[in-house]
């Protein structure tokens, strides 16, 4: 015991903090903080790290009505500190839509859409050589008038709903062509309890002759077959009426004269048949393979390989009946009935996949014959 105490003292002595920031560093830091405080705190978000597939709750009481008491597209862009984009949304080239749909717990409003090159202060042309970008603004409000939480005001571990907002092209499989695969990104701000999301991606006007829609769904930041149905025979995508979350589609009245079938064809060929070089470093293109493989394994009750043994842990429950699971950086809070049907055993068909430099991992839930539910993390391999 004495030896342990001595070792503890030695550790404390050697590992104790003996550095401190110098005054210049702190002054510089305060100056930088002051600068940032004066700037709009928006950051672009891109999809390269995580993918979530979902099933979910309730649905659709769809009704459309004009948006009221919401900001307009130019105002939102202006507030985001993007004057160029504000001007673009105010120009004659922009589509001013201001259409709303109530679905589930949310009211989604498509404010406007505009396409062009260099029309945003935050503009960064596609790496694949498509300088024109399409920008759109969608707001998300609580249908009951309550406030959407501002991410700044909630703790990291608290549950926060996430949304998928993306244009989809009629006649093209939506899981293949959406904001994630079309070099998209978004910025988001919460004003007066309403989320305003500015999205951008490779331009979609070239698809004007095919038709396009703006899809919005809750339950995750990625396209979900649970939220939408794509009819491969007709090429039409629809919001699922049996989706347990919120899902809505807005028709995009693109100008047919701006359609460019040749460019659209070339773009889709590139998108749907990526070169070997692209597949090497394009995480988005790898994700469907990972997900499809996992999905097939789960649906056919095949054993899942790559489970991290230490991650297997029985879940806990809160008073609302939500399941809680955490392992290192993974945290999940999910209603039980979203994971398993009554009497269902084995793996839940709901899972999440995330990626990092070290590869892809899946968060899975399993229920045994005794009803014990465990969470676990599996490292996924690419076929």
């Amino acid at each position: 015991m004495k030896e342990d105490e001595q070792w503890e003292r030695q550790l404390r002595a050697v590992l104790a903090n003996d550095y401190e920031p110098d005054e210049k560093l702190n002054k510089h830091l305060i100056d930088r903080m002051r600068e940032r405080k004066q700037m709009k705190p928006l950051r672009k978000k891109r999809w390269s790290a995580a993918l979530v597939t979902a099933s979910m709750l309730l649905i659709l009481s769809v009704s459309a009505y004009a948006a009221t008491q919401l900001y307009t597209a130019p105002q939102i862009a202006e507030n985001a500190g993007d004057r160029l984009l504000a001007e673009a949304f105010a120009s004659d080239d922009a589509l001013r839509l201001e259409e709303s749909v109530v679905s589930g717990d949310y009211r989604f409003t498509l404010h406007g859409l505009v396409t062009g090159a260099g029309i945003s202060d935050l503009s960064q042309g596609s790496e694949k050589g498509y300088p024109d970008r399409t920008y759109a603004i969608v707001s998300i409000a609580k249908a009951d008038g309550s406030m959407m939480p501002n991410p700044r005001d909630i703790e990291p571990a608290e549950y926060q709903e996430s949304f998928f907002v993306s244009p989809l092209i009629q006649g093209v499989k939506p899981w293949q062509a959406n904001i994630v695969t079309m070099n998209g990104s978004y910025t988001e701000q919460v004003i007066d309890g309403v989320i305003y999301r500015i999205i951008d991606c490779d331009q979609i006007e070239m698809f004007a002759d095919r038709g396009a829609v703006m899809a919005v769904s809750s339950g995750g930041p990625f396209y979900s077959n649970d939220a939408f149905h794509y009819d491969e025979a007709t090429g039409v995508v629809e919001a699922r009426s049996d989706y347990s979350g919120a899902a809505a589609l807005f028709d995009l009245p693109l100008d047919p004269s701006k359609a460019d079938p040749a460019q659209a064809e070339a773009y889709l060929n590139e998108l749907l048949q990526p070169s070997a070089e692209q597949t090497g470093d394009d995480e988005a293109s790898e994700l469907p393979v990972v997900v499809e493989t996992l999905r097939a394994q789960l649906h056919t009750a095949q054993p899942i390989e790559g489970i991290i043994p230490e991650s297997v842990a029985e879940v806990t429950y809160d008073e609302k009946g939500n399941i809680h699971y955490s392992y290192e950086d993974y945290t999940a809070i999910i209603p039980l009935d979203e994971l398993f049907e009554e009497g269902q055993t084995g793996y839940s068909l709901r899972y999440s996949v995330s990626g990092s430099d070290e590869g892809y991992t899946a968060l899975l839930f399993h229920r045994d014959a005794q009803g014990v539910i465990t969470g676990r993390i599996a490292k996924l391999g690419l076929e």
Binding site: Q6, W7, E8, R9, Q10, L11, R12, A13, V14, L15, A16, N17, D18, Y19, E20, P21, L25, N26, H28, L29, I30, R32, M33, R34, R36, K37, P41, P151, R152, D153, I154, E155, P156, A157, S326, Y327, E328, D329, T331, D357
Partner: protein
């Protein structure tokens, strides 16, 4: 939170945060970057920094997140710096040559350097709770909350880290 409050926060917790960043980064350049980015993230941040709710643990959690996110990009110069810093250490620093008790005198400067080096070589899984506990002086509960792992896991990782360090010291000193 205004700038003055943030300046207070720096005054109160700057040293602890910086020391933690230093240990984690292993060199002053990256430590400065991580330190600044931690406070900047807190300012612009996604979450409210409530002074009444343990801002030190909150800031350390931000630093850990930044470290994890950027560990590949920042290319920490970790293997050399702790030892070279030790060699430069002013001998008036109390821990360097003035141990708290006679027993602690058993650790020579070389052994201290060896221990620091061994600690720095630990995987993040063990290194983060180690520095959070001994350098930032967070409690097991605070570490568990920041890393979002059970307290028992924090304890077992600390135990494992201590064991590995002791073993490294034994090997390093030829005992």
């Amino acid at each position: 939170m205004d700038i003055e409050e943030l300046a207070d926060l720096i005054a109160q917790h700057g040293k602890a945060i910086y020391g933690f960043c230093w240990k984690l980064a292993g060199n002053p350049v990256d430590a400065d970057d991580l330190y600044q980015e931690t406070f900047l993230r807190a300012v612009e941040g996604r979450h409210t920094l409530d002074k009444t709710r343990n801002p030190k643990a909150y800031l350390i959690a931000i630093a850990v997140g930044l470290h994890r996110n950027h560990r590949r990009k920042l290319a920490w110069r970790q293997k050399i710096a702790p030892v070279s810093r030790l060699a430069d250490q002013d001998e008036s620093q109390p821990w360097a040559i003035s141990p708290h008790t006679p027993e602690d005198a058993a650790l020579s400067r070389e052994q201290q350097a060896l221990l620091l080096h061994a600690a720095h070589q630990l995987k993040d899984k063990l290194r983060l709770p180690l520095y959070m506990y001994y350098t930032a002086e967070l409690s097991v509960e605070e570490i568990a909350s920041a890393l979002r792992i059970p307290q028992g896991t924090v304890k077992s990782r600390l135990h494992k880290a201590r064991q590995l360090l002791r073993k490294a010291m034994e090997v390093g000193s030829g005992t």
